[in-house]
């Protein structure tokens, strides 16, 4: 069902892009793009209009996610550039609203995040992979694994807390993490 050069597709995505361009600029700014937001949204459109994709179910979501991905890549490159040029661990104040030092800089921290996730066991990992990698909605994960929706929600919370470096409160519901 690939529709290349399809007039329907080009009005679909294009129409949505032009209707929401300002919202996307605002979103990019909110994600930390600063003054580059306008240029970035152009760059975004250039790439998307050249990409060969089939019909898109949620054009607006597609655009927002593409914008967010763009910011992730910018942060990744900025972090690598900082490391190559050498950085102070102390206060790395940057031109943006917040310091790059607040971003994860060391490979090691990512290795640790993955370890913390894996330490939660097979099922949490499986739920995370189905959700984050396979893009399966939570309801469907629950059905496929034969567990409740609330169990899926809890597993995802645990997974993301591990990735974020928050302490795990798996034993006995303390959902607000007051023990921390």
């Amino acid at each position: 069902m690939i529709a290349r050069g399809d007039a329907r597709r080009s009005t679909g995505l294009k129409g949505v892009y032009f209707a929401h361009r300002q919202d996307l600029v605002r979103f990019l700014r909110a994600r930390g793009a600063g003054d580059a937001a306008d240029d970035l949204v152009q760059e975004l459109w250039l790439k998307l209009s050249q990409a060969k994709v089939g019909p898109i179910a949620d054009p607006l979501g597609y655009l927002y996610r593409a914008a967010s991905n763009l910011m992730i890549e910018r942060h990744r490159s900025a972090v690598r550039r900082e490391r190559r040029e050498g950085e102070y661990a102390a206060d790395g104040r940057e031109d943006g609203d917040w310091s790059l030092d607040q971003l994860v800089t060391a490979r090691q921290e990512i290795v640790r995040a993955e370890q913390r996730l894996r330490a939660l066991g097979e099922r949490v990992l499986r739920v995370f992979v189905m959700f984050r990698v396979d893009g399966v909605p939570q309801r469907d994960i629950a059905a496929e694994l034969g567990i409740s929706l609330s169990a899926v929600e809890k597993d995802l919370q645990r997974a993301y807390r591990a990735i974020a470096g928050l302490r795990d409160e798996a034993d006995a519901g303390d959902p607000d993490g007051r023990r921390l």
């Binding site: 979103f27 898109i56 370890q115 984050r132 990735i163």
Partner: protein, 320 residues
């Protein structure tokens, strides 16, 4: 709960919610990001770590059955694939599988690999012996994929490992490093892989290194250094290969920033470098002491720098 923990919880909630294909609250997410610069920063941090972890985990997860007749794909565009260093780009948002379905299906459904990960935190080493007697010595901060169904295979994803391979001409030992394939020709060798560079040093025997149809044999006493753009061979002191296993780190004209990375991997300490000396070449042999906190004076003398200790780790600065 502190403000910061609350903020992290909120960021997690947003990250999870926007991952759902049906999510449409982009305006509300924008407002939350705008409400406080720290919200934006925390979201950026989490999204980055999430993307990296998801990518790493995706490389080893078995492929889901993809229905090829799936209609509209909700996935975000795959221009991230163009970056040669990354095999599976993991977008924020729904449907990595939808976006990369063809790659995942063709690679993993047809291959019979049953991969598992061995991961060491920085500063912690681990030896793995495969059946047949080949020994892999993993340095700290390393991620290696092995195969339950194939004891003659390893994939170094990140970090450093030394290989002591029991030679078998009928079933050569193969190592994958990024896009490159290494085949053992009867050897002891060391591989170090970071995001930008792969370094292979051969102590004994030879290794055949192949990437993108080009192939080069690396003999004992040789080192191969591969970046995205080029591959170079150089001489190396055979006794320096894998010397980290004996507590020796050997540097030959390495930029101080890379030296700091190696020290981090071996000690688990977070080490930063003043940008004024980041490219300073270092030629030295560092003998690792029993207690890593004894290292700074040695580094100061060897490199002619000052080492500042903070709660977060060490900072290497010029000695003026």
């Amino acid at each position: 709960m502190t403000n910061e923990q609350q903020r992290t919880h909120q960021a997690i909630d947003w990250l999870i919610r926007q991952q759902d294909p049906a999510f449409a609250d982009w305006a509300a997410l924008t407002e939350w990001l705008e409400a406080d610069a720290a919200n934006s920063a925390e979201f950026a941090r989490l999204a980055l770590v999430d993307a990296e972890v998801a990518e790493s985990v995706a490389a080893t997860a078995p492929a889901r059955q993809i229905d090829r007749n799936e209609g509209a794909h909700a996935g975000a565009p795959g221009w991230l694939w163009e970056n040669a260093r990354r095999r599976w780009a993991v977008p924020v948002g729904a449907g990595l599988a939808a976006a990369c379905a063809l790659f995942l299906v063709s690679e993993q459904v047809t291959s019979s690999r049953s991969l598992y990960a061995v991961v060491t935190p920085p500063g912690v080493r681990q030896n793995v012996m495969l059946s047949g007697g080949t020994i892999l010595a993993l340095n700290g901060g390393t991620r290696m994929m092995l195969d339950h169904s194939d004891a003659r295979f390893a994939q170094l994803v990140d970090g450093e490992a030394s290989f002591d391979v029991v030679h078998d001409a009928a079933q050569p030992f193969r190592v994958e490093v990024g896009a490159a394939q290494l085949v053992d020709l009867g050897t002891r060798f060391n591989i170090r892989k970071t995001a930008d560079v792969t370094e292979l040093e051969v102590a004994e025997g030879a290794v055949q290194y192949s990437v993108k149809g080009a192939s080069v044999r690396v003999d004992a006493g040789q080192e191969l250094r591969a970046t995205a753009n080029e591959v170079r061979l150089a001489k190396v002191d055979r006794s320096a290969v894998g010397a980290w296993r004996e507590g020796r780190l050997v540097f030959d004209s390495e930029p101080l920033a890379d030296v700091a990375d190696d020290l981090s991997r071996n000690t688990g300490k977070r080490i930063s470098v003043d940008r004024r000396i980041a490219t300073m070449p270092v030629t030295a042999v560092v003998q690792m002491p029993r207690n890593f906190d004894d290292l700074p004076p040695q580094l100061e003398k060897l490199f002619g720098i000052k080492v500042r200790s903070t709660t977060k780790g060490w900072i290497l600065t010029p000695s003026d």
